[in-house]
């Protein structure tokens, strides 16, 4: 499992792995929004929590098809399926690798992008914390979506249709935590719900994703 994790990390960080692509996409989203809604600081500050969370969601989505597609094409996924490591473990390792190269950098870089959107000061720690708690669920659900669509030729668009509705609870609780932080309220209830969603997803979704992979490898 560790070897698989390290292998995926190495593949993602070397040339052509697309590391940093998600970050660049996030930056572009945060740059485009002010063009759309106008440069007034007040408006931007009000919508910043939502934009940052939606931006993180979309950047996460962008790199999902890489989780399984390449391994499916060159056959290493078949080897993984016959390896002594349970397929559920392989799914978890791959989702973890995806999180380490997209979710974690996103969460750490988010304060910089929040600066662009005039996010109110007190919300910064909550933004980082909520992204740190929420993005593992995004990666894991994304792994499920990628597992379902891995055998399809044009699975990318379908995958976003399948995965984005699953992101709704995470988005609601995550953005709500940041919004409450920005308004000076108590973001803790939202964070606890967010953590609950993430833990549930981490515990159960690997089984669904592995089941879908087994169907696609049949």
């Amino acid at each position: 499992m560790k070897a698989l994790l390290l292998r995926d990390l190495r593949l993602a960080t070397r040339a052509g792995g697309g590391f940093g692509l998600a970050l660049a996409f996030f930056l572009i989203t945060c740059t485009l929004v002010p063009f759309g809604v106008g440069p007034e600081g007040g408006t931007l500050a009000r919508i910043a929590p939502g934009i940052l969370w939606v931006g993180a969601l979309l950047s996460c989505l962008l790199s999902l098809d890489r989780i399984f597609a390449l391994d499916f094409e060159d056959g290493s996924l078949d080897l993984l399926a016959t390896a002594p490591l349970p397929l559920e473990g392989a799914v978890a390792a791959k989702a973890c690798a995806h999180w380490l190269v997209t979710g974690l950098p996103l969460a750490l870089a988010a304060p910089v992008f929040a600066l662009l959107l005039h996010l109110p000061g007190p919300a910064y720690p909550w933004l980082v914390v909520s992204l740190l708690i929420g993005t593992p669920a995004l990666s894991m659900l994304g792994a499920f979506g990628a597992a379902v669509t891995v055998g399809l030729r044009r699975g990318g668009l379908l995958m976003s249709l399948l995965v984005l509705p699953l992101y709704v609870p995470t988005l609601i609780f995550g953005a709500e935590a940041v919004r409450r932080g920005a308004a000076g309220g108590d973001p803790l209830p939202a964070l606890i719900f967010l953590a609950g969603v993430t833990l549930g997803v981490l515990a159960l979704v690997p089984f669904a994703a592995a089941a879908a992979l087994r169907v696609n490898l049949r």
């Binding site: 499920f144 379902v148 379908l158 509705p165 609870p169 879908a212």
Partner: protein, 241 residues
């Protein structure tokens, strides 16, 4: 009689063929009479004539949720016991459910415009229905995208399970996010005022009509799927020969 007998498509075709005319006739009778009766009810003292849209809105919303529930059960039966007709029934039900969801959303918007002064409001009930509609779309799209019918049934079954959990989760998550404008349940078992009998009985009739309508559509669509499957098998045999 058990559902396992109907895993045999021949048996299913025979029984469903016998039920179908009655389902169609009952659906036509109940839906038409329920809606006409509903249309002839007196106007509400507060809502005026707009109250009459309830006879479309509530049955459609009821069916939208219950069709997803039925898809969940049939998907489970398929995943656990490889009941082929069950998987096809789930496939056949999905577009009907999507249309029911759409009817509930559209009639709700038409009613909301004069009553709430807005076509759309980000109210928890409305929002969770929109999310349910998205789940239906994803489910139908996945069925259409996978070529191998057994893989498609498996993948959509898993999606239906995961989607059910998240549809339910979203239903309660949106409560957290926004307080509602939508009124509570229209019908309740608790004794008391809730709804006048003038409206209640046509509503029951129209709910029964929508259920029979769904049953009829489900049977027709499942039969079509079975025939399509047979056709594919015949073509495959032809190719081999």
């Amino acid at each position: 009689m058990s559902i396992w007998e109907y895993a045999n498509p021949v048996k299913f075709m025979r029984t469903s063929g016998a039920i179908l005319p009655y389902a169609v006739a009952g659906a036509a009778l109940c839906t038409v009479s329920g809606l006409v009766w509903g249309f002839l009810t007196p106007q509400d003292y507060k809502q005026g004539a707009t109250v009459k849209i309830i006879f479309l809105h509530v049955p459609a919303a009821l069916m939208a949720i219950n069709i997803w529930l039925m898809m969940l059960v049939t998907s489970l039966i398929w995943l656990v016991r490889r009941h082929h007709v069950s998987a096809l029934a789930a496939k056949a039900a999905a577009p009907v459910g999507a249309v029911m969801t759409l009817i509930a959303l559209i009639t709700g918007a038409i009613w909301g415009q004069p009553m709430w002064g807005t076509w759309w409001e980000w109210d928890p009930r409305l929002t969770s229905f929109l999310i349910l509609f998205l789940f239906y779309l994803g489910y139908i799209a996945l069925w259409a995208a996978v070529e191998n019918p057994d893989s498609a049934a498996d993948l959509t079954g898993v999606l239906c399970l995961v989607g059910s959990v998240f549809a339910l989760l979203s239903r309660y998550a949106v409560n957290f996010w926004n307080q509602g404008l939508h009124q509570g349940a229209s019908l309740s078992l608790a004794p008391g005022e809730r709804m006048s009998a003038v409206y209640k009985y046509p509503l029951y009739l129209s709910m029964l009509g929508f259920f029979l309508l769904f049953l009829a559509l489900l049977l027709v669509r499942t039969r079509t799927e079975i025939r399509r499957r047979r056709l594919a098998a015949l073509l495959a045999r032809e190719m081999r020969a």
